[in-house]
Amino acid sequence: MVTPMAAKAGIAAANRPWAFRFALTTENVYRPLLDAWLKKQAMPIKKVVILMDAKDAVSSFDGKTVFPVLLKEKGIEVLDTVSFQTGDIDYSGQVTRAKGRNPDGIVVSALYNEAAHAVAELRKQGMSQPIVAGVGINDPRFIQIGGAATEGVMAASDFFADNPEPVVAAWVKEYENRFKQKPSNASGEMYDTLYLMRECIKSTGVIGSDLKADRVKLRDCWANMKNMQAPLMGATSIDKNGDATRVPTVLVVKGTAFVVAQ
């Protein structure tokens, strides 16, 4: 059983050996993202504040557990974790509290809508510190709602619709012709998962005659997957927990779109 996009922690690990996850766990996304974010800053970042959505399960898990662990790994102190709720209208209280801590940088872990509000309020209250955000914001509407305030916000994602890579660009064009709208993160992940599953079926010669044996073959194909080339997201391996590992694309908001960060 392969979930293309579930981001919930430990889903594959909890259902060994039959469950696998194609989407990167947030930990595997955020580690390279933080590296890129820290390297890119003119001034070193020693102290951060985390702004997170306490109501959304994935965002609150990232905000409470994933980010703090990775930040500690990189010697960065988390001054304060300020939370808000999905659907909140007012973020002024949270931002003023964050401002009071005067951090070097800000980590936002929320869905695109709330993240856009929080970032807009940060800039509105005159906080110019660099911002890095969780996977929740990987959606064009983040920039639409947040507006100019989202400039320079860094994030990372498996699939990135505006990736200049020829293979990805061609696929995105075909998607837009068929469905008249830009593919989202999920569509890319779904495509690659099915592609790899097909590769496994071809490589193990499964033809559906013997269900019990076929199941084991496919399971092993996924379990031992090493650097198998996924068309959109590149070389993918599966770790012992059944989670995929690969190099995610690090993005930054420039103007009205996400672009690949250099």
């Binding site: 919930k8 306490a54 109501k55 959304d56 399960a57 609150s60 898990f61």
Partner: protein, 272 residues
């Protein structure tokens, strides 16, 4: 024909009927609660926790109801000195507080809710619970407690002058209703198999209110009719898929205008 789809609709209908009765009981004493969702949540979480510690289903259900009943006493207390609309908004507030509590209460899963609940609810259990609840609600009208509640609803000065302890009767009626809502919550948890705070928010309490007022406040079977309409109508309206809620909302307005006191009249006095 009785596909599992209709089976689950029937179970949820039964649960909604129980919720209707849970509001009918305090309303006979004039206590209009917009917070029954909170008691349902308490019952659901308590019952689910117990069955996870593999306590058998029936005791877990009753325990859920009992804890909800105690919560009913807590919520009922401030409601004693106030009337009508205050009780509505106060219980609404109580409902929001309970929702926020479960949103942050980690032992029951907090924001991500509680899953992995065993599917123990069966239709016959829910039907039986409804029958029992109706028997009690109907019989109660002809018993001391029921009479006291009706008297309090109409004229609490007279009720008190006739020796009825207002506080005790109101609290009993409020926590009795909470108990029924708690049991309904227990059934819900073991039918939906995943519960989180937002399933028991204000809209849940408002819909429960609809069951009773739509069906007819003065008649215990009013909540049955109301629950049936409000639960089945959206299902039947699937045909107008896009405009389902608009049609449903319009129907509510029309019924409210056509039968302000609800569809079923107050029951004729029993000839004895």
């Amino acid at each position: 024909m009785w596909s599992s789809y209709w089976d689950s609709v029937a179970v949820f209908l039964g649960i909604n009927v129980l919720m209707g009765i849970s509001l009918y009981v305090p309303m006979t004493a004039g206590l209009i609660s917009l917070g029954q969702g909170a008691f349902m949540a308490i019952g659901a979480y308590v019952c689910a926790l117990l069955t996870k510690a593999n306590v058998p289903f029936l005791p877990a259900l009753l325990a859920g109801g009992a804890v909800a009943a105690v919560a009913g006493l807590v919520a009922g207390a401030p409601a004693l000195r106030i009337r009508g609309i205050y009780v509505m908004i106060l219980t609404l507030g109580f409902g929001e507080i309970v929702r926020v509590f479960f949103l942050n209460f980690e032992p029951t899963g907090g924001a991500s809710g509680m899953g992995g609940i065993r599917p123990l609810t069966e239709l016959w259990q829910v039907v039986l619970a409804c029958l029992i609840a109706y028997a009690v609600a109907w019989r109660m009208r002809h018993l001391r407690l029921g009479r006291a509640m009706i008297a309090i609803h109409e004229d609490d000065l007279v009720a008190e002058a006739m020796g009825i302890n207002l506080t005790r009767t109101k609290l009993v009626s409020f926590s009795l209703g909470a108990l029924v809502a708690g049991v309904a919550g227990g059934f819900y948890a073991h039918q939906a198999l995943f519960i989180d705070a937002n399933q028991f928010d204000f809209s849940r309490s408002a819909i429960t209110f609809l069951y009773v007022v739509l069906g007819g406040v003065a008649n215990p079977f009013g909540s049955l009719v109301g629950a049936a309409i409000v639960t089945l109508l959206p299902e039947l309206l699937r045909v107008v898929q896009d405009w389902r809620m608009t049609v449903f909302g319009t129907i509510l307005v029309l019924i409210a205008i056509w039968r302000p006191d609800g569809l079923l009249p107050a029951p004729r006095l029993r000839r004895s």
